[in-house]
Symmetry: C2
Subunit: 242 residues, 2 copies
């Protein structure tokens, strides 16, 4: 049987992917996934995603050496060390650190996937690497693949749809059985891949980020295949897949 | 304010479009919408969509001169005059008739939209005509536009997604505010428009129809802009927009 590739357009439906026992690729291209990828690329040991602020603060109290990062309504909170801009995760600041991260949509989507055995974090930045690893694991373990899109406030988002398409388009042709959602995502990505950031900027969330002054984050997050990095979420922590 | 263009991917969410007061374009490209378009093109007076078989039978009892058409699990029922194949609606059979239609997904989606003031029926066959009319009505009445996709059993379907994109891609650029869903649909359509039926055939529902022997229906339903026909659903009946 061919490996099935599916997409849950809304994070609230993550439970379906978990229930199916699928390998999950969690996607929040703007910006949580991109921040996680860049954080690990710059020497972060582990990212601990939390759904609530309360939990993030509690963890920080227990571990004063951890960095507290993330956003609400797009912006860094006053007591946080960093916001949710991938560009803030520079080596001088984050190398060797453990990071507690809480964001409006991305970390929430991740936490919803925590009971799945295999959860990878996908962004445009690591599309090629995460696709390769997902294919390996799915074929070796004979499990299907589901993308879980964080979206904005749990709604469908263009950038995450295109990002799922970017990753799925790297799956070797013929050996995978794509759902209608996955086929649509690949088609969307194929349409825009020559001018990715131009189209991503049209999305609701990108327009919001632009209003907040985060235009450079969008440009950075749209760099395809920039990193050979596969973040894996297991036992409550996101680390580099060895 | 620009007219907003949105897409409800699943028929179960039709109520949201109704609640917003939007002009609705109901889409079930394979095959209900295409059958309705071809039926009206071949002289049918009116199509009465029903959600249940029971209702369809009751109507037929009251009006023995009406044709009873549609499908369950893709196939014509024994007591029906015609199935749900657009190609069955030839002039010799349907000219001057009123048709009671009940299908698994398409008529159900339509009935869910019945409380909306403006409901048009969209297919690839009439993409250009329905786009033009929707734009006219939306601008004149200052209402937003929502596509409601019938899908297969209420699920997202590739063919309806592409069909919404085909129609929305005809909206004049710049004067409409596209949701992320609408942007995605347009991108998908733009990717496949040169070989539409080739891609539509990959969808779950098209594969099912192919197994049932309805390949010609898929080819026919994928003919873009074939008809200058706009079916409008009002007071329980679908008729040609005058």
């Amino acid at each position: 049987m061919a490996v099935r590739v599916d997409v849950e357009f809304a994070a609230k439906d993550a439970y379906r992917a978990v229930k199916r026992g699928d390998l999950i690729i969690a996607v929040d291209a703007l910006r949580c996934s991109s921040s996680i990828v860049n954080a690990l690329a710059n020497g972060v040991n582990a990212v601990i995603p939390t759904e609530t602020l309360k939990e993030a603060y509690r963890l920080r109290e227990q571990h004063p050496d951890f960095l507290l990062v993330g956003e609400r309504k797009g912006c860094k909170l006053k007591s946080f060390d960093l916001g949710n801009s991938p560009l803030e995760f520079v080596r001088e600041v984050v190398d060797g650190k453990t990071v507690i991260m809480t964001t409006t949509s991305g970390t929430r989507a991740l936490v919803r996937c925590r009971r799945a055995e295999h959860v990878l974090v996908g962004a445009f930045l690591n599309a090629g690497a995460v696709a390769k690893k997902a294919v390996e694991i799915a074929q070796r373990n004979k499990v299907d693949v589901s993308f879980v899109l964080a979206g904005e406030k749990g709604l469908f988002s263009l950038e995450d749809f295109l990002c799922a398409g970017a990753i799925a388009s790297k799956f070797p042709a013929g050996t995978f059985d794509f759902s209608d959602e996955a086929l649509a995502a690949v088609l969307g990505f194929e349409r825009v891949k020559g001018a990715l950031s131009e189209y991503v900027r049209k999305s609701r969330h990108a327009r919001h980020l632009t209003e907040l002054g985060f235009e450079r984050d969008i440009e950075f997050s749209c760099m395809l295949k920039h990193f050979e990095i596969v973040p894996v979420y297991r036992d409550g922590k996101i680390t580099l897949m060895q």
